[in-house]
């Protein structure tokens, strides 16, 4: 089961990862509005320690107009 969400801050990343764990997802895809892959990593890196039991994919969302709702 995959869980997808857009996160703009570290605290959002924490929240989303915890929610995915609580709901038993095994993979999570995080869309991060950023200029480049390194910028996306900077947003989520602190929260990734919470995700060691999940597969986590981080994607750069270059389109700033994209919805911020969980996907």
């Amino acid at each position: 089961m995959e869980f997808e969400a857009t996160v703009r801050t570290s605290s959002e990343a924490y929240r989303v990862i915890r929610e995915a764990r609580r709901n038993g997802y095994r993979k999570i895809i995080l869309y991060v509005p950023a200029q480049d892959p390194a910028g996306a990593a900077e947003v989520v890196r602190g929260a990734l320690a919470e995700a060691s039991f999940l597969t986590v994919e981080v994607r750069v969302m270059r389109d700033a107009g994209r919805s911020n709702n969980n996907r």
Binding site: R26, V32, D36, P37, A38, G39, E42, V44, A51, V58
Partner: protein
């Protein structure tokens, strides 16, 4: 890329800056250039890279491992460059301690940055080359994003990649959007059938026999993943690949070799004996990557397994065996918190007894452990460190090396000097001092009577001897400082230490 003169332990020297030697000599000692074929493909390459290469070749991609010195000729046409490293930015132990103590960047990190800054890679990047980074140090990119940007890395893959690498490669080659970062969780760990056999020889004849570990130590990510045993046929195919390349010595890899084929932590003597008989059929000399001390004690006392295994291994080619072993701590209180399963099937309260008994068995059987200690674990107290110092004293008569490593919280990685200034105490210094003296005492015996005794290692022996003389001279200097000013003089904030380090 290197085979460390086919001496795995020499690889530890790449985690330090060149101490007392010019960098070229240091690199030659610890990381000599690899032999390559006419296409620049190394005869021996790191095992992890070999797995990825094999997976991609089996999926039909034109993929090959290329020695960094021979990359240029491929970069004009290559569309995807994958890089792997054990310690990209010297953020693992013991690199991080070396950097903090000496104030100089270790050679592993220096050489990687030199590679990525070469003109040919920058030009290829401008022409559309994609770069994917992975390997055991992949996590470091998350905390060194300035280099992620500078080197133009497109994707970082962290974890066992066999299940995901083919799809990512296809996306990269077809110009599809790549993930910035992919952490492969335990549920996506590849099954044994998804893990390919290597197609080219591995550095130091390295061959995996299993993945995962059931001991569940809190500081170790390997325990998150399922335990999977390679069948003997799979191991044999990889041994044959290495032998075909002329490699007749090697390391068998597991978090605990004695758990090969085990039911939980109960050893499977039949499986282990068959494994060693098989490996010895191909390799003249064999080393273990890791065992646990509890595993050694239990296997010998219940099954006489250590004696039986050394009877298989020892012959005219080999009369000793090297292995890395996690001693971790001498504190029973801390052990109960961070590694309650480490002493199993014995209670963790008997940790000192387990350590002593296991080391006695290893000493008697000429098994030489490099014992790693973890210092600076959150919640560690001075009493914990005193207990660790006592344990080091108790094991002084057992042939071994003791390598202290600091637990480094990620928040400190941006500021190594701050890390050292804030965290090293006199009690840490005491542990490190005893470990250093223990290792110097036994290191000479191990290096010159066992590890490097073959005449072909004469040049390495001479350099190593020079290095040991340098270290001993520094130790005498430090002893003088200790006598005159006490242990606080060695704390990093002290000008005495700064002067000593700088001189």
């Amino acid at each position: 890329m290197t085979n460390h003169h086919r001496k795995e332990f020499l690889g530890f020297f790449t985690t330090a800056p060149p101490v007392g030697l010019p960098e070229r000599a240091w690199m030659w000692l610890s990381a000599p250039k690899p032999k390559v074929d006419r296409l620049g493909r190394p005869i021996e390459a790191p095992y992890g890279l070999r797995k990825i290469e094999a997976k991609l070749q089996e999926a039909g991609f034109n993929a090959a491992i290329i020695d960094p010195d021979h990359l240029d000729k491929y970069l004009k046409s290559a569309r995807l460059l994958m890089v792997g490293h054990h310690d990209y930015f010297a953020m693992n132990s013991p690199s991080v301690e070396w950097w903090a103590i000496t104030g100089e960047e270790p050679v592993n990190s220096r050489s990687f940055k030199r590679l990525m800054r070469q003109k040919s890679i920058r030009e290829a990047k401008r022409n559309g080359l994609k770069i994917i980074a992975g390997g055991p140090a992949a996590w470091q990119w998350l905390w060194r994003t300035e280099y992620w940007r500078e080197f133009g890395v497109d994707t970082v893959i962290d974890g066992e990649a066999e299940r995901v690498i083919v799809d990512i490669t296809r996306k990269a080659l077809e110009g599809e959007e790549l993930p910035a970062y992919l952490y492969v969780g335990p549920e996506d760990a590849p099954s044994i059938d998804e893990i390919p056999e290597i197609k080219g020889a591995s550095v130091n004849g390295f061959v995996e026999i299993m993945r995962g570990c059931p001991r569940r130590c809190r500081f170790c990510p390997v325990t998150l993943r399922p335990v999977r045993y390679y069948p003997l046929e799979k191991i044999e195919k990889e041994l044959q690949v290495n032998v075909k390349a002329g490699i007749r010595s090697g390391v068998i890899h597991s978090e605990d070799v004695l758990l090969y084929g085990a039911r939980g932590i109960e050893p499977n003597p039949d499986a282990i004996l068959k494994l060693h008989t098989l490996v010895k059929k191909y390799y003249r000399t064999v080393a273990w990557s890791h065992v646990t001390l509890a595993g050694v004690k239990y296997a010998e006392e219940k099954y006489r397994l250590i004696t039986n295994l050394t009877e298989i291994l020892y012959d005219e080619h080999q009369d000793w065996l090297g292995v890395q072993v996690g001693l971790e701590t001498g504190s029973r209180r801390l052990a109960r918190i961070i590694m309650p399963g480490k002493a199993a099937p014995y209670p963790i309260e008997k940790w000192h007894e387990v350590v002593g008994d296991a080391l006695a068995i290893m000493h008697d059987n000429r098994i030489v452990p490099a014992l790693t200690l973890i210092l600076g674990v959150p919640g560690e107290t001075e009493e914990d460190l005193i207990e660790t110092s006592e344990l080091i004293d108790n094991i002084k008569d057992y042939r071994s090396l003791i390598v202290p490593m600091f637990f480094v919280p990620l928040g400190y990685l941006k500021d190594r000097e701050g890390f050292i200034r804030d965290r090293i105490t006199e009690a840490h210094l005491e542990v490190m001092w005893r470990a250093l003296n223990h290792s110097l005492r036994w290191g000479e015996d191990i290096a010159f009577n066992m590890y490097l005794r073959s005449p072909k290692y004469l040049p390495v022996r001479i350099l190593f001897k020079a290095f040991l003389m340098y270290v001993k001279a520094r130790v005498r200097e430090l002893e003088r400082v200790l006598d005159e000013k006490g242990p606080e003089a060695l704390l990093p904030s002290s000008t005495v230490t700064k002067n000593l380090v700088a001189s």
